[in-house]
Symmetry: C3
Subunit: 152 residues, 3 copies
């Protein structure tokens, strides 16, 4: 068994969709990035790649490659799963925490978990998504961006 | 075996008790929160719940519920352990890092470990508590708050 | 099997060498600290010590001890490995993410992995080093310092 950790941050800006764990969340701002900037899935992918000693998402999906412009991170997660499979790994379980002052994410958590479990083809109870705030402190507290941490 | 991660932040304010790992630490400020705001135990509980795919502490102990007003996080940790037991899990080991510019936490670490091991009913050497600073940087460096990260 | 997590931060200042994962990186600033301030190896050591319930690097290598002034963190990592061995542990795998707005770390990652695997005497494919930015946000985004997170 191997373990890995992921950490990612994206800036919150007006006029972008907010997509987290593959769920589009109704909100006046969204995350800036080359792909859909799904910070939760990015942290998950980095944890999975890390556990398999396959580098990180910047190595596999460079943000200078036009192929990944606006791509859904669900598609990238599927590619990560293929990479793991090729190396003979399967996902045992994973846990991710989304750090966001707002919006309230509780209504979307279950769908995020199902999305991730579906793409990775593992049981729902091997996936956990949590949300927390930083109580108004730091860049997440000032709502300049969202962060996510994951282990797998 | 399953793994999970926890991350939590609370603001440091005058006139509150500073409670970390179940230890009351003599200090002119303390952590603001609905419960006792024990940021270390909150991160630990989120890691444990995450590993078991049981959501997070916000789901189990909503900060809008008057039942949890001022509650000791040691009591909440016991409840988390019961939830794990009901699902057939036992705690293998856990590790937490408290991010605090001040005060020096070294004198309290051993008691925190014993507290956590005691509540979870596991051997002392399956629990580890660490402390670090952010060298004056960020919200923890400015002593606006404390953060904690855990894995289990 | 045990797991641990590490988190460390050092300030970025002119006139110091930038050493990450045991690699000296050509850059006009470097990390401030009592040792060589290798934030990546510090997070790795804390994750390893945490997994073994051996405390943290502050306990084993106090920054008030002149013995550790300017010491290479590669030497400290070797000492950590000895401590683990004495307790009957061996390293299964580890993953670390370096949080740095700049410089680009991709050209140095492979050497960092080889350094860590070499000191710990484990296969190269049990070590993973990742890099990410915080997209200009927070103290790492303002290039006031670098951070690192690890699991082992
Ligand atoms: Mg990203
Ligand atoms: Mg809390
Ligand atoms: Mg350090």
């Amino acid at each position: 068994m191997r373990i890995g950790c992921g950490y990612d941050v994206h800036a919150l800006v007006p006029g972008r969709k907010l997509i987290l764990g593959g769920v589009e969340i109704p909100y006046p701002s969204g995350l800036l990035g080359h792909s859909d900037a799904d910070v939760a899935l990015h942290a998950v992918m980095d944890a999975l790649l890390g556990a398999a000693a396959l580098g990180d998402i910047g190595k596999h999906f460079p943000d200078t490659d036009p192929k990944y412009q606006g791509v859904s991170s669900m598609v990238l997660l599927k590619e990560v799963q293929s990479l793991l499979q090729q190396k003979g790994f399967r996902v045992n379980n994973l846990d991710v925490v989304i750090v966001a002052e707002r919006p309230k994410l509780a209504p979307y958590i279950e769908t995020m978990c199902q999305n991730i479990a579906g793409v990775l083809d593992i049981e729902r109870d091997r996936v956990n998504v949590k949300a927390t705030t930083t109580e108004g402190l730091g860049f997440t507290g000032r709502e300049e961006g969202l962060a996510a941490q994951a282990v797998a």
